[in-house]
């Protein structure tokens, strides 16, 4: 191959050169060196996407490990989790990591989403990044919803029951979709099988594809700068290099996040309620996961009928307005109007305050 080099030199350089001759390493190196992270008082939010990505890695690893012992069968599911918790070496640890990881992941995604919203990172040219991010959020909520049924304990049964009954109330496709997800009119083995397949096969595939797109777009556009930073004269703008400066800070933050996760996992291992009984009454004081608390509390307040429409449907439609605004905000606030920009910001604060307020209220009541 490289005939004019001595054998030893070839050995030293061999691997690097082998790769460089076959892959566009130079391009990648250039990209990593060129990429820079703006430094300002909101820079801290740039870490959240990375934390979410790291936690996703934890979910994949622990999820695959769980699949080894978990049995998606109506009479064995609960028992298989009990066995994981009590007999398998580190079984409780893997399962707790997965459950706590799911919660931290969704928390990180919420913060990530709202920080992107308030920094107005959805504006041109980053609309596709914003929308792919919204879809990733939906996928992760779907992960949470489908995973929650799998241990087949009391709360997981009723959480699924309510979730699917809400879906059923949606106009037009509601019935068909919930019937297909449930695999019939009531929650049975069919539901467990379907949720399992969605949780371990369909959603991971969607997630990997979409996350790839999301990260690619972030590379293409570079990191967004908030308006206040963009306005600064060039000599006042400071940046740090993505590689190695930001990259190593990123890793440090990951280590911190992992420590939080391990702390929660070891100090408060995830519990397991009594096995689900489809014919028993819902336990007093039942509540959904915290990330569904706000809509839960909101729905509690709505009277049975609002005018001619059923209260539930009214509530769902009202809440979908929030979703529609999040999807449409790049059109509404495209950077040309100051007052529209302000409206979008105020709307964001209202939603955030509503989410936090209703969640706390739901947790306390």
């Amino acid at each position: 191959m490289v005939s004019n080099h001595s054998h030893r030199q070839v050995q030293e350089q061999g691997i690097i050169q082998y790769i460089e001759e076959r892959l566009p390493v130079d391009g990648l190196r250039e990209l990593a060196e060129k990429k820079k992270v703006p430094l300002h008082k909101h820079s801290i939010w740039y870490y959240l996407g990375g934390i979410a990505a790291m936690l996703l890695g934890v979910q994949f690893l622990t999820g695959i490990l769980l699949m080894v012992y978990y049995v998606p069968e109506i009479n064995s599911a609960h028992a298989s989790i009990l066995k994981l918790n009590s007999q398998i070496n580190f079984g409780w640890f893997v399962r707790s990591l997965h459950s706590w990881g799911a919660n931290l992941l969704i928390l990180a995604l919420f913060v990530h989403m709202f920080s992107a919203y308030f920094m107005k990172a959805y504006r041109k040219p980053r609309e596709l990044t914003w929308w792919s991010g919204l879809l990733l959020m939906v996928i992760c909520l779907a992960f949470g919803f489908t995973g929650y049924l799998l241990p087949w304990d009391e709360v997981s049964f009723f959480a699924t029951k309510i979730g699917l009954d809400i879906a059923e109330k949606m106009p037009v496709l509601g019935h068909m979709v919930s019937y297909m997800l449930r695999g019939g009119d009531s929650i049975t083995q069919a539901t467990i099988s379907r949720f399992f397949v969605i949780h371990v096969a369909i959603l991971p595939v969607l997630l990997v594809g979409l996350l790839g797109g999301h990260l690619f777009l972030v590379q293409v556009h570079g990191i967004s700068e908030p308006e206040s930073f963009k306005k600064l004269p060039p000599e006042k703008k400071s940046y740090e290099k993505f590689f190695p400066t930001f990259f190593f800070k990123d890793i440090l933050v990951w280590v911190l996040a992992i420590n939080v996760l391990f702390g929660l996992t070891t100090l408060c291992p995830w519990g397991l309620g009594p096995e689900a009984d489809p014919f028993a009454a819902a336990p007093i004081g039942i509540k959904p996961e915290w990330y569904f608390l706000a809509p839960f509390q909101f729905l509690k307040l709505i009277p049975p009928m609002v005018g001619p429409i059923e209260g539930e449907l009214f509530g769902i439609l009202l809440m979908s307005v929030v979703g529609v605004v999040f999807v449409a905000v790049p059109f509404f606030d495209n950077g040309t109007s100051k007052s529209y920009a302000k409206t979008a910001t105020i709307f964001g604060w209202l939603i955030l305050a509503g989410l936090i307020g209703f969640s706390i209220w739901g947790a306390l009541s």
């Binding site: 009723f158 029951k161 309510i162 009954d165 809400i166 068909m176 019937y179 297909m180 695999g183 019939g184 009531s186 049975t188 069919a190 489809p278 014919f279 028993a280 009454a281 819902a282 336990p283 007093i284 004081g285 039942i286 839960f296 729905l299 509690k300 709505i302 009277p303 049975p304 009928m305 059923e310 209260g311 539930e312």
Partner: protein, 205 residues
């Protein structure tokens, strides 16, 4: 994309009879005898607006590449539809899989002595959960226990002497099943109760 392609396609289209071009330009008013070729090309100038040229008049002199594009699109849609239909059908379970359970018309719940005054008991009625209540006066009542709000399973609460749904705090009257508080929009469906040989037997109303 269409800009470039249409200018490439132009030579193919030009030899086509002018009729096709005239057909849609107003002064021709549907007749073939418009004032000659020159006026027609004035109205639909392919160089000025290649897209319009392509969209409106191309259909009538469908070019080979356009035909292929449409045929390809159509085939993809057809294949997609053909593939999707069986998948949707596959995923829709046949109705009434638990037919046996749904056929149940009456259930023996327990001995009368096991349900003292002022208490209630949840039990399985074929394919759905049900609740039977012995009220303070010793009257028996039974209902389908599926909350009319979002389908949780209700229970009798001795402390409130009403039927209660833990999911969103819905309440029903224990003797009529009427929804009296919280989000439930409708009363609970009533079941018949009888005492047969000292046992509580609930049957469909």
């Amino acid at each position: 994309m269409s800009d470039k392609e249409s200018s490439e396609d132009k030579p193919v289209a030009e030899p086509a009879p002018p009729v096709g071009l005239c057909g849609k330009s107003e002064p021709c008013s549907g007749s073939n005898s418009c004032g000659g070729k020159s006026s027609c090309t004035e109205h639909v100038d392919p160089d000025a607006d290649p897209a319009a040229y392509l969209d409106d008049d191309y259909d009538e002199v469908l070019s080979r590449s356009d035909f292929m594009r449409k045929a390809f699109g159509g085939t993809v849609l057809l294949w997609g539809g053909v593939a999707l239909a069986p998948i949707v059908a596959y995923l829709t379970p046949p109705p009434g899989e638990d037919k046996e359970a749904a056929k149940v018309t009456s259930v023996e719940v327990c001995k009368v002595s096991e349900l003292p005054k002022g208490t209630g008991k949840n039990f399985r009625f074929g394919s759905f959960p049900a609740v039977v209540i012995n009220d303070m006066e010793g009257q028996l009542h039974a209902f389908n226990a599926i909350c009319t709000h979002l389908g949780c399973t209700v229970q009798f609460r001795a402390d409130k002497q009403c039927i209660y749904c833990a999911c969103h705090g819905g309440e029903y009257d224990a003797s009529t099943g009427k929804n009296i508080a919280g989000p439930p929009p409708k009363p609970l469906p009533v079941l018949k109760v009888a005492i047969v040989d000292d046992k509580i037997v609930v049957s469909k109303a």
